[in-house]
Amino acid sequence: MIYFDQVSKLYTGGHTALDKVTLSIAPKEFVSIVGHSGAGKTTLIKMLLAEDIPTQGGVFFESSDIHGFRRPQLNSFRRRIGTVFQDFRLLPNKTAYENIAFAMEAAGKSDEEIASDVPHVLELVDLGDKMWNFPHELSGGEKQRVAIARAIVNQPDIIIADEPTGNLDPINTFEIVQILKKINDLGTMVILTTHNKGVVDSVGGRVITMDSGRVIRDDKKGKYAL
């Protein structure tokens, strides 16, 4: 479903962030991408979200090159992906409810759908009582759960979680991983980048290990091996 074909990314100054990465990810798979800082994990995610273009090679989603998409196609492609980041990236001037509603509005959902789905998805991440709080009134773990709720509300095909637990304590980390596993069990592809050994080991799925922009290991049932 997702296929990276010989993807290289060179930044100005000759720094190689990705070096001929080739890999494919099947639907409903839970993939952990691990590696030290600067190994190329985030660059890989950026390529997948079309936030940055590869210097060489191509990224394919359902056999179309996502870097060849025009604006409207790109927008609809992004609506099929839910993203969760280390720094949460919530809209600071919108409440938890409005943050999630915004993603649904952007996808063109009706007011009725929004009114019924948003409280439901917030219940799912156990934030039913903080619906009308602004991000600055929420803890790190709560913010991340809002971000996850936003990511899943449009029932995307893929969830991309880029170091989602990087700013969280062990208990919140555990909770977030449990939520991601639950999402994956319901049939959504999850791509998780992390350098947290505990997280990778508790997921127990496919592990791709990166170093200096290259894939150095790809284990079907992997453990954290760095």
């Binding site: 604006r71 609506r79 809209l91 600071p92 993603a103 509005e105 952007a106 009706s110 936003r150």
Partner: protein, 309 residues
Amino acid sequence: MIGINLKRIIKSGFVSFWRNGVVSFASILVMTMTLFMLGSILFVNATLDASLTQIRDKVDINVYFVTTAPEDDILTLKTSIETLPEVANVEYVSREKALAEFTLRHQNDQLTLQALEELGENPLGANLNIKAKETSQYEGIATFLEGETALSTLDDTPIIDKVNYLQNKTAIDKLSKIVDSAERFGFIIIAILVIASLIISFNTIRLAIYTSKDEIAVMKLVGASNSYIRGPFVFEGIMYGIVAGLVTLILFYPLTVWLGPLTENFFSDINLFDYYINSFSKIFFIVLGSGILLGAISSYIAVWRYLRK
């Protein structure tokens, strides 16, 4: 779909306007100053125009006739002057009228009136008061009169006693120059002020949106279309413009009430308050329209920078 989106954009713009209170307040303040400047220019222009018209009105040519000049000859000359294309109007002041005006002007000056009485007869000649359409056209009229002075004679003595233009020529020339350069100078000052305040307003809005650049990135990430992201910002800019415009219009009320009598004394012809009330619809549309345009265009350009991939 468009209806729903429009509703959501307006709602979101309104909510953001309210929640970013401090930023909104600062933007409105700066925009108010810009619009105030723009509005003041309308007033300055009106005052300048009125004073110029009045100064121009004071410039004229008087043709004084000898006391023996027959009225028919004077009226013939008046008709021929009126046919000149430069001439706006010619006023004939008869000997009797001249005397009446003179007496009225000196009604508190007993000595002069006594002297006049002792004289027994009317010592004043008739005169023609000529007004040109443009200050610069007096030269031409004066030249024409010079020719007439030589021609219009009665028993070989000219009926024209004197043409005061020649005496006033230097003063009139100077005044024409001042009037011209006042207009040009005024225009340059106005242009500079408007451009400067427009740039300041534009920058303020750009700065306000700069604080939202991460938000714009997140909106893009959840797949919102460009127009859907841009909409609330543009709407917010329009709200800044409307509020700033209304504040400006309200501010002009006490200001013109206060300045009205002052300008009336100073420039004698125009009361700024009356001008404000009479031209309210024009000023309303210029100020509010400029505010809305400025807000919308500034926001559009500012967001556009962050929407490029």
